[in-house]
Symmetry: C2
DNA sequence: CCAAAAGTGTTTGTCCTACACCCATGA
DNA sequence: TCATGGGTGTAGGACAAACACTTTTGG
């Protein structure tokens, strides 16, 4: 039995030069992408897989996720949260029959995938994290021959059950963007409300009303205005905002104190309240 | 390194005869309780702990949770979901200095706690599940000398980090009751809306408006009316309802297909929608 | 001046809350 | 018949969606 920690790393990246031809030329908005590692061992040899590796003796789970994130991309994430533990006995031997995986995978493989060192077919329980990386941070991601960033919604067949895992992480990201305040993790230190809205639009894949978005964000206290403005467009400059660190970013309940988040009680949604 | 699976099992149980004296006599509503196992080994010897045990070679994680649940209580749960994986390196050696744990614990211990068979102080990663058990099911729970049901909100100091785990499970239960439809799992096959409302009130610890609760539940399609009525009170009989199995009970996203839930797309919350 | 995006105001509809009110039953 | 809870109606408030409108810049 092996215990591994893997991470689904999301970032908004400029579209690849090769892939940009498909669209109508000037649609060059960032694309929700994630880095994958090409396997060089027998189970799923040549397939892409999530970055990860075995848990070391004296490190915590979150620590291990941050470490593998740094090892594969050279980056630190602005947001890191546990996703789910996958441990079905047969998840090492799923359908290899599907051959729709990227053909270029075979020639990019190299030595040193950190995942799985023991004998094959051994059972692996994976504790999976998901992470968000900022734009500037993602721009200077380490390039490597067997690490590649792929678009999240047009993935090939991945190794093991990693397609299911990415789908679940995507679902969690989209769900959480709607009710929590994590979209800023995709941006830099300061940002305009238009930029923040575009992150929401890219993640949720639909347009949002600028006026209503502005009001909703301002009412949530998620951001605080600065005195700076973003100029350069041929229009009125937009005010820059900064993420409000005084409020807990997410709802982890009692677990919020054990992570990096400051302790702040979550506002309860009023619903059918009465006396008592 | 050990990998264990533990489960936080919730049920609404009649208050204990001994504990009923504290209240003003006729407040005998059910109490949110969970079964705990008394440890008989050195780390936290005599303390109460969550039921669980090592993951077996050929069983899935959910399978292991259901098995330990059956082994400690003899029951099957109406709801079972993964909670979190706890794996900090130092969580086997937390504060033993606190001695506020129940004094009667020492004399109820017996041989055969299923948890942890290897040498002490070894690192343990626990994948924790949480479960809901129906009222009738909970009433015929197996009694044992080193298994006892304790009230969820007045727990003593538990072994390891199990207090934190129970707090988190409680928070998840309360959060999920508000937006999902899991409260029926505490009840039997059929139930009145008053009974379902009382479950919500007990879990959330506040009263709810009966009229609004009725409308909200009926609008959510969570239950379907039957032709039977609950008679006996000196008032108009109440219609019995049944849980609507045609709709997925919770939001597990892509993971819903891997569990027992039928495949039904989750209705998205409309918010700031526009064209595209 | 004009185009374009920043930012504000306003209407409309929907949902929740509180609470008044009728209905049906057992004693 | 009356007390009790089952079940319905409805006015008021909060909030989101849609969209008209004003403001401020670059060309």
């Amino acid at each position: 039995m092996q215990l591994a920690v893997s991470t689904v790393i999301f970032a908004l990246r400029e579209p690849d030069r090769r892939a940009v031809r498909r669209a109508s030329a000037e649609d060059s908005r960032p694309i929700l992408s994630l880095p994958l590692v090409c396997r060089v061992r027998d189970p799923y040899d040549g397939y892409w897989a999530l970055p990860g590796g075995p848990l070391r003796a004296y490190e915590g789970l979150t620590e291990a996720a941050a470490r593998t994130l740094e090892e594969t991309t050279g980056l630190r994430s602005a947001y890191l949260e546990q996703l789910y533990a996958f441990g079905d006995p047969d998840r090492s031997m799923l359908d290899t029959t599907d051959t729709t995986h990227t053909p270029g995978a075979a020639d990019t493989r190299a030595a040193g995938t950190p995942e799985r060192t023991a004998s094959d077919r051994e059972r692996v329980v994976s504790i999976v994290y998901w992470a968000l990386v900022g734009q500037e941070e993602a721009a200077r991601a380490r390039v490597s021959q067997n690490v590649r960033w792929l678009a999240a919604d047009t993935l090939p067949t991945l190794a093991f059950d990693h397609n299911l895992i990415v789908d679940y992480a995507l679902w969690r990201l989209r769900t959480k963007v709607e009710y929590s305040r994590i979209a800023h993790a995709f941006l830099g230190e300061t940002f305009t409300l238009k930029e923040l809205r575009e992150v929401h639009e890219l993640v949720l894949d639909r347009t949002l009303d600028p006026a209503n978005f502005r009001r909703q964000v301002e009412a949530s206290d998620a951001v605080v205005p600065t005195d700076s403005f973003r100029t350069g467009g041929r229009h009125r400059p937009a005010r820059l905002y900064r993420y409000n660190t005084a409020i807990a970013p997410v709802d982890l309940g009692p677990l919020a104190t054990t992570t990096t988040a400051p302790t702040t009680p979550e506002p309860t949604t009023p619903a059918m309240r009465s006396s008592r």
